[in-house]
Symmetry: C2
Amino acid sequence: MAQTRERLVEAARDLFLLKGYHATGIAQILKTSGANSGSLYHFFPTKEDLLLAVLTWYRDNIDEGLLQFVYARIDDPIERVFGVLDGYRQLLLILEFEYGCPIGNLALELSNSHPAARTLIRENFENWLAAIEANVVAAQDRLPLDTDPRALALFTLTVMEGAVMLAKTYRNLDPFDSAVAQLRSHYDRLLAEGTEWSSPRPLPEPTEHQDESIQHS
Amino acid sequence: MAQTRERLVEAARDLFLLKGYHATGIAQILKTSGANSGSLYHFFPTKEDLLLAVLTWYRDNIDEGLLQFVYARIDDPIERVFGVLDGYRQLLLILEFEYGCPIGNLALELSNSHPAARTLIRENFENWLAAIEANVVAAQDRLPLDTDPRALALFTLTVMEGAVMLAKTYRNLDPFDSAVAQLRSHYDRLLAEGTEWSSPRPLPEPTEHQDESIQHS
DNA sequence: GTCTATATATTGATAGAC
DNA sequence: GTCTATCAATATATAGAC
């Protein structure tokens, strides 16, 4: 049947999500999908080709799989951002923390060794960032004039990925909720400043450390 | 020799860091460490036992391996926090992004399937959090009275883990620097408020979304 | 505690009939 | 495009002499 390819991608997607790439065997993918070895290798010459198909699927399904589900019930752009984060929260709950961000998992497992996968992982992140950035831009009339939408979107993704990692490790939503609450307060402080130029960075207490290679905002 | 066990742990530690747990074979560990199969299984009945030894090593070496290196040249507690983050930045650079946080990598790869490892990963995070929290406490006289040191430390860890993931994926320090700069501005806003009680959360523009399950601060 | 040789299962991948 | 049978390589782990 023509949907064999699709079943294979779905099975691989779910197994990679739950167990990771290396820990998932071809045999399991065949069993889960109900396909045979010959069919799999007809569509995907190597296991890595199947991985790329999975990452392509995620990349092309961020809208229906994630955004539309949130946007359907929330209109305010800032609340949409936190609605997306809440989507990950729900998935952590539903799958009892045997989950994480599927892209994040594969990013840490494969970014070093699989360049083609890394490119697709980056494209996934780029799509996610573009969606969040669009929300920040839509709310820009309530944010300080010097707000950098891309940087704020990137910060949001950063916090989400870190928060999912900690929740998965603790098998508990507390670290996730705590981190998102801190992120919320970060947004709140920006909103509280309104459309004025952001106040200049205050001078910290004089300290005696010499070299400081962190770039400040 | 009595240091065979140590050489095995070091080799496994480095290989797990670069390639992950599943992608690292026993044969490679033997080759890298110069030990023989019999020696390895004398000390570690299973591969997972070796993994636990590696995680224990990290847990017991956070001081000498990370903190003291930073604290030796920085005294200010807030700058020590960002100095620790800068340590990860340097490692990303030195190892040309073929790196990440070793604990974070293993957290996403193994938290689901290896409960004993997950416990040690959590202990690693706890040690890291305690160190950062101690710095926040040390700077508490410059922070708002209602600052929660544990929550701020957790936020810092969250941002660090997410930032390392993105830098590794992009093979570029930009996302790391951007996220850390945002975190720095978060700290700066807290410092700017001084020791007063934090201003109450401002009311955002009224919006029409109904259910909002994110916990606000 | 260390050595070499090897067992056993599973891995990703292939062959060739249909 | 699908099927079964199977390959060669690698995986983790073991045996037993020293």
